[in-house]
């Protein structure tokens, strides 16, 4: 009953934030059930067992540090511009729909496209097929087209991308998008989304104009960098007009670590954590207090609520950052004089599978259910009664998977992500430390961090939180 009361309190305190539904994503009609205590216990135990057995049996010499790739196909030259053209067309279409279509979030294609197909669908696709977003990236395509024409007029050389800037633009971009998705009251408003999409594309075009297309895409384009990180886990690698294959996980080993990379990964995990946390009991009892604190400062009810959720979002990112930092500081005690900053960068690639596991665990059902809405939204994108494909009257079939199926996917993703992170960290430690003893000692710390992340992930989905 306590739980129910807290839940009710959270809801009644947040009528503005949850206009259409109790879910954090206003477009969803159904929320997942929390995983049961028994499953939580078993999953947490599995994580520990995997960790200990892993430590005891993993290889004694590094194996992944020198990735090998094999070319399987040459890609036709026309493919890249063609994909770019499709990307630009989709982008313009969604912006048009957002601006001119029905402003009811559930009747307009734009919110579902942005929050479900794009934001949640592409990480899944990137894992399976590699960096597909790069090919369809609309701002990249526009910049390349402009560059192609401009070359005839010998434009000035782009500026050198500042070393210190690193992946900070991407980290800030992802944090901003998470804020939009989880905090902003008008997050579902189609025309707002369309305007923000245009603004984002403009910033990317300016970035590419200043620093060159590739340097900016590699570090500055938040979405490109975000999907690109997940694509590094994929066995498929599209590069230089070739399709190459590599062993899974190998791609992420070579991740370069300019400034801001740790911040980006920590932001990715922290914001997803807050999405789970903000639906839980603890936040349900915490947020009204924050809310009234900001009300007392003179903020209106909507602003106070946004301020409270902003504190929560940033707090979650800081907690994740703190956990990772603790592990890194612990690793320093393993010896051989490595600096904390150096260790943080050298092991940051191990957070990529954990970040993806969080995404899968939290958003798998959203993609599966709300993804179906594409059928009727694409047929009637503007919400004006059109029926382009004859599927406008389709509904979401919530029977495609039951609660048990969702739980197993969630737990499976977290445990698998944990195991991948463990393998990556183990291999890196072997390569980094001269003495095998120091490598093992450093691993205890890294392992503690990963167990913490995975247990946190499980807890966020479990009845203990909700």
């Amino acid at each position: 009953m306590r739980k129910a009361a807290a839940y009710a309190a959270a809801l009644s305190a947040a009528p503005l934030l949850f206009p259409a539904s109790a879910a954090a994503h206003g477009i969803v009609g159904k929320q997942d059930l929390p995983i049961s205590r028994a499953l939580f216990t078993w999953a947490a135990a599995t994580v520990l067992v995997v960790s200990f057995v892993g430590l005891a049996t993993l290889w004694p010499t590094p194996r992944l540090q020198h990735p090998r790739e094999r070319m399987v196909a040459r890609l036709p030259k026309v493919l890249d511009p063609l994909c770019g053209l499709i990307g630009v067309a989709i982008f313009l279409f969604v912006v048009y729909v957002g601006l001119r279509g029905s402003q009811v979030a559930t009747a307009n294609l734009a919110p579902t496209f942005v929050y479900v197909l794009f934001w949640v669908g592409l990480p899944f696709l990137s894992l399976l097929l590699g960096d597909v977003f790069r090919a369809f990236n609309p701002w990249r395509a526009i910049a390349r087209a402009v560059g192609f024409v401009a070359r005839r007029f010998s434009p000035p050389e782009p500026l050198a991308y500042p070393e210190w800037l690193g992946r900070w633009p991407a980290a800030i971009g992802i944090l901003a998008f998470a804020w939009l998705e989880l905090v902003y009251a008008n997050r579902d408003d189609p025309s707002t989304l369309a305007v923000l999409a245009l603004a984002y594309a403009t910033v990317q075009l300016v970035g590419m104009a200043l620093y060159g297309i590739e340097p900016w895409l590699r570090k500055g384009d938040a979405f490109g960098v975000y999907f690109g990180l997940f694509a590094k886990l994929s066995p498929l690698h599209w590069v230089d007009g070739q399709l190459r294959i590599r062993r899974p996980l190998e791609g992420v080993v070579g991740l370069d670590t300019p400034p801001g990379t740790v911040a980006l990964l920590v932001t990715m995990i922290g914001t997803t954590s807050f999405d789970g946390f903000s639906q839980g009991e603890l936040w349900g009892s915490l947020s009204p207090k924050l809310n009234s604190f900001f009300s007392d400062l003179g903020l209106g009810p909507k602003d106070a609520l946004e301020a409270a959720f902003t504190v929560g979002l940033v707090g979650a990112v800081l907690v994740i950052a703190g956990l990772y930092r603790l592990g890194v500081i612990g690793m320093r005690t393993a010896g051989e004089d490595h600096q904390a900053g150096e260790l943080a960068r050298l092991f940051v690639h191990t957070l990529v599978p954990i970040a993806l596991a969080y995404v899968v665990a939290h958003y798998f059902s959203l993609l599966l259910y709300q993804g179906q809405a594409t059928a009727y939204l694409a047929s009637d994108p503007l919400g004006n009664g059109a029926d382009l494909f004859g599927t406008a009257s389709k509904n979401i079939d919530y029977g495609v998977i039951g609660a048990n199926g969702i739980w197993y996917v969630q737990v499976g993703a977290l445990v698998l992500g944990h195991a991948c992170a463990l393998i990556l960290a183990h291999d890196r430690a072997l390569a980094l430390y001269r003495s095998p003893r120091a490598a093992v000692r450093s691993q205890y710390w890294m392992l503690a961090v990963m167990v913490a992340f995975t247990s946190l992930g499980l807890w966020l989905l479990s009845a203990a939180n909700q």
Binding site: M1, A4, A5, Y7, A8, L11, S12, P15, F18, P19, A20, S21, A22, G29, K30, Q31, D32, L33, S36, R37, A38, T41, W42, A44, A45, L48, V49, F52, V53, L55, A56, T57, P60, N395, I396, Y398, G399, G402, A403, N404, P436, V440, A463
Partner: protein
């Protein structure tokens, strides 16, 4: 890593498995065994549910039976199952259908944007 260290780690793993087994068995899935709510009635007064937002729990296959009585004209929306019914001023609407979809749903007074009940359907 030495043979002894390996054995110690594997031993720890075994201890964890046993501990988890004991916890899982002793808790007996206690929090899963919720009672079905049965027929329920929510009275809406001044656009708010009397007695606060109701929590209802059903097992899959149970019959959901919910009556909403409202002193204002509005639309009652049972999310997820996506059933919408207009309620006239001072009238009642009744939702009665089998719980076929698992998950958490809200029942909402649509125009007032007021949650009336949180419904949970467990497997």
């Amino acid at each position: 890593m030495s043979r002894t260290q390996r054995l110690v780690l594997l031993g720890v793993a075994l201890v964890v498995v046993v501990a988890a087994g004991v916890i899982a068995v002793s808790s007996g899935g206690g929090d899963d065994a919720k009672k079905s709510s049965g027929p329920a009635t929510i009275v809406v007064s001044g656009g708010k549910p009397v007695g606060g937002v109701r929590s209802l729990t059903y097992k899959k296959g149970d019959r959901i039976d919910l009556t909403v009585k409202s002193d204002s004209a509005d639309e009652v929306h049972f999310h997820g199952y996506d059933v919408k019914k207009d309620v006239p001023k001072g009238g009642t609407v009744r939702f009665s259908f089998p719980a076929t979809i698992e998950g958490k749903f809200i029942v909402e007074l649509e125009n007032a944007k007021q949650t009336l009940a949180n419904v949970e359907v467990t497997p």
